[in-house]
Amino acid sequence: MTHEAPILVRLEKVTKEFNGTIAVQDLDLEIWEGEFLCFLGPSGCGKTTTLRMIAGLERPTRGEIYLREQRITDWPPQRRNFGFMFQNYALFSHMSVYENLAFGLRIRRFPSNEIERKVQAIARVLELEPVLHVRASRLDLSTMQRVALARILVIEPQLLLLDEPLNNFRPGLREMMRAELKRWQHQFGRTMVYVTHDQEEALTLGDRIVVINAGRVEQVGTPDEIYWRPATLFVASFIGRPSMNLIPVQYQEFDHQAYVISPDLRVPIGSYRDDIIKTTSFPNLILGIRPEHLLLSDLSHPSHFVRFPAEVDLIRPLGRKQILDVKTRSGHILQMVSLGGKPIAVGERIEIAFDPQNILLFDPKTEKRIY
């Protein structure tokens, strides 16, 4: 899957209202053939509604949906030939696994020898042969998930839509099933759209991630782009744990050199002055820096690093690494990650260093990244 991959489904200015409340607003999106696309956002952000519109279970209030440039906005779900998998797998519990898998083929009127062949083939791949004649109600959760997936794959859909399918799993199993899903996607090369509120899941599974908030797309990008180049303040604070430090700063110039300053910091910013001066709330900006980019200052750090004093306020020992909450002189609390090294105590005064190249700047009004 590359940028040259053909577009399978395209959403154009799609809006969905429920009784006057806007659930999804002016959403533009491309789903590329063969990719694993994750919708990520807090609950109630509109990600499930978007998925249901792609599936044909909801009709957009405005906007259009295209399948390979054919308009499908009005098509009923069955005509789209997409597979869905929701949180509850909705298996027919009184039927055997075999009957569950054959069901979709029967209603599509496949000849019985064809049904037999297809069911056996998918059962082999997903290791369901031993349970083919077991009733669905007797299966454990992870087998149920495999049956649910097999039931979708057997009808050879051109697009798979999954809505938080791993929510019912306990933590250890959930990670295992996540790995399985990724493996299957690789194996079958199917296009998948996957809805989740769990950022780890999205970062692990997604070739690309669509971050949705309050019915709007905040950013579409690869996991690395979303993490290191967040387009908005929302993405910056939503992705990453501990989350990005955000510090209100002001733009100033000294001796023809541009800086952003706060009561604690003075950070040189080389170019980009023009972009910054154009921002709506100039000279007020928000500086973002990831906790892993704040370092305990030592002599090995180059001289262009920015340094500032702070006091350790809280230590979160997470085994090999510690997350430190540190209080700056002005009382701002920042989080940083410290990897081993010398032991540190609460109340200790430390000096923090960072490379000014690692900062991001946001416009506080539009909440968009400008640097």
Binding site: A179, R183, L203, S243, D325
Partner: protein, 361 residues
């Protein structure tokens, strides 16, 4: 404030044992955590300490005084539960003042104390508002304020933040820790979330099936887990464990499975005869190389999870999937072959049956 000691607590509900000889002691002014899965006995232990439940056997001591025959209201223990019960028709001020009114404190004293605690918990803006207008985090703050305002000898918090979302939960944990440090309040916190426990706790007791598995400072639980349960419970992700035969050799141990074998040199092998063990290594200690290492085991990359400057990768080695944390500079592709180094100083060995740690001794 006071110390808390429990000795050999037993409690059954019908045939179901909830506590099976639980003992621990909490120092005056300490922040102590009970860490265990749901159903491990944490809530029962709290109910016994608070006097809401009679133990079948065992003793509870608070501040050096035996509590078994003391009714709950005289124990001076406050509790905050997961489902916070505030009086819906009372403002935050009235909710927090309530325990003081019951004690008939003078109005000026009530006002002073409520203001002090709400200041500390940063909820002064809620004082005149009714509970239905609070956010989840604010409800917890008001409940904690109400529990602390009467300065109980012990504060018990039972999964007080469990249902908050991850980010607010971490913030609340940090705040509670600060508050505890400033006030010196003895606190016992029950949770199943180790990240929450390590932020707050001076010491953590890992509880399972009503029994103590291990009690220590957070760092030691990580460095010297007593059992595989502790090893996998702490850490994100937890320790990798591989069931295999350990065969002692002159200068090391051979770990053998049907699908691979691994020789580790150790000057003094901790085992003397062949036995079934669980070989453990933390994901952050497994060294992954994209260049072949002679005689090293090789594995296939199955899943890659980006995590800031690091990645968590799943590596398949025969039938085993190992997790490793690797720096972002190591460029990896799915299904790539990599080679693994197992630093002997970071290995753990557990008995396969008892799951107790054998090495490091």
């Amino acid at each position: 404030m006071a110390s808390v000691e429990v000795h050999e607590l037993y409690k059954c509900y019908g045939r179901i044992p909830a506590l099976q000889g639980l003992s621990f002691s909490v120092k005056d002014g300490e922040f102590f955590c009970l860490l265990g899965a749901p159903g491990a006995g944490k809530t029962t232990a709290f109910r016994v300490i608070a006097g809401l439940e009679k133990p079948d056997r065992g003793e509870v001591w608070i501040g050096g005084q035996r509590m078994n025959l003391i009714p709950p209201q005289q124990r001076d223990v406050a509790m905050v539960f997961e489902d916070v019960a505030l009086y819906p028709h009372m403002t935050a001020f009235e909710n927090i003042a309530h325990p003081l009114r019951l004690r008939r404190l003078p109005e000026t004293e009530i006002r002073r104390r409520v203001e002090e605690i709400t200041e500390r918990l940063r909820i002064a803006h809620l004082l005149r508002r009714l509970p239905h207008t609070y956010s989840g985090g604010e409800r917890r703050r008001v409940a904690i304020a109400r529990a602390m305002v009467r300065q109980p000898r012990v504060l018990l918090l039972d999964q007080a933040f469990t249902d908050l979302d991850a980010k607010i939960r971490q913030e609340m944990a940090a705040e509670l820790k600060r508050l505890q440090r400033e006030t010196g309040q003895t606190m016992i916190y029950a949770t199943h979330d180790f990240e929450e426990a390590v932020v707050m706790a001076d010491r953590i007791l890992v509880i399972r099936e009503g029994r103590e598995i291990q009690t220590d400072v957070p760092q030691m639980l990580y460095e010297r887990p007593a059992t595989t349960f502790v090893a996998t419970f702490l850490g994100s992700p937890g320790m990798n464990l591989i069931l295999c035969q350990a065969i002692p050799e002159v200068k090391g141990i051979r770990f053998v499975r049907s699908d691979f074998a691994l020789a580790i040199s150790m000057p003094q092998p901790p085992i003397t005869e062949k036995r079934e063990v669980l070989l453990g290594i933390r994901p952050e200690r497994l060294e992954v190389s994209t260049d072949p290492i002679p005689e090293a085991l090789s594995a296939e990359v199955e899943v890659i999870q980006p995590l800031g400057l690091e990645r968590i990768v799943d590596l398949r080695l025969g039938h085993v999937v190992l997790k490793a944390i690797v720096p972002i500079q190591l460029s990896l592709r799915l299904h790539q072959r990599v080679w693994l180094r197992w630093p002997a100083e970071h290995l753990f060995i557990f008995d396969a049956v008892t799951e107790q740690r054998i090495y490091p001794t």
